[in-house]
Symmetry: C2
Subunit: 139 residues, 2 copies
């Protein structure tokens, strides 16, 4: 039983929003953002260096994130990207408010992003194939 969509578990609302975690309930087909957060962060940082809190807001610009993404996820992934040398950071304490950790993309990170782009092209075409298979089957 699903406490979000109520009633039948096979509702047709398939938006990616609201976050997931509904177990066997398929009222949200893909609440989870499925590790798209890393390429989104890398692309944001390719555009210009930024800090976690700002990146959090910029993530909503990607259609993978219709709602507000999780703050914990953003900071944790930035840390992981830094451990892999895909990004680097420096502290900025200049202006008002708490200190900011400014992240920039590294050459390795740019290579990684390029690999992600290739991956996305593959997935996109795999989905096109799937849709085509479906169209042929229902015809």
């Amino acid at each position: 039983m699903c406490d979000t969509c109520h009633g039948p578990e096979h509702g047709h609302d398939h938006g990616m929003g609201h976050g997931g975690g509904h177990g066997d309930c398929h009222c949200k087909l893909s609440g989870k953002v499925e590790r798209f957060i890393q390429p989104c962060l890398l692309l944001s940082l390719l555009q210009h260096p930024s800090h976690g809190y700002e990146l959090l807001e910029r993530l909503t610009g990607f259609r993978f994130y219709p709602g507000s993404p999780d703050t914990g996820a953003v900071y944790r992934h930035l840390r992981r990207l830094e451990n892999s040398d895909y990004v680097e950071s420096r502290w900025e304490t200049g202006d008002a408010g708490p200190a900011k950790r400014i992240y920039s993309i590294t050459p390795d990170g740019q290579d990684m992003l390029k690999a992600w782009i290739e991956e996305f092209r593959d997935r996109k075409s795999a989905m096109e194939d799937f849709i085509e298979k479906y169209e042929r089957s229902v015809k």
Copy 2:
């Protein structure tokens, strides 16, 4: 340290094969098939009824599965799909070898598959946007 690609953890091999589970190693960008198994099973069953072992082989026809998919995953997802009334099954003991559980897609399952197709269209266009954003940034 990655025991698959050895050396630097940011190698550029980004195929979807060999299965995942390399933690922070990005030598495989997406070893996980990320719940694509359910729509693949539904579409296979839309084409014609089938049993688990056969579906296992038919899954390789989808480009989400370059290697052989996990047998456990197939049977477990079939069970889950049946619990959700997206598929139904009957035992077939007629011919040689062990009994087969033949699955068929239900009307609810067909609706679900349709919802998945819409979802795939969304994801596909989100990826197109991402790639376009990238192209603009590197230009």
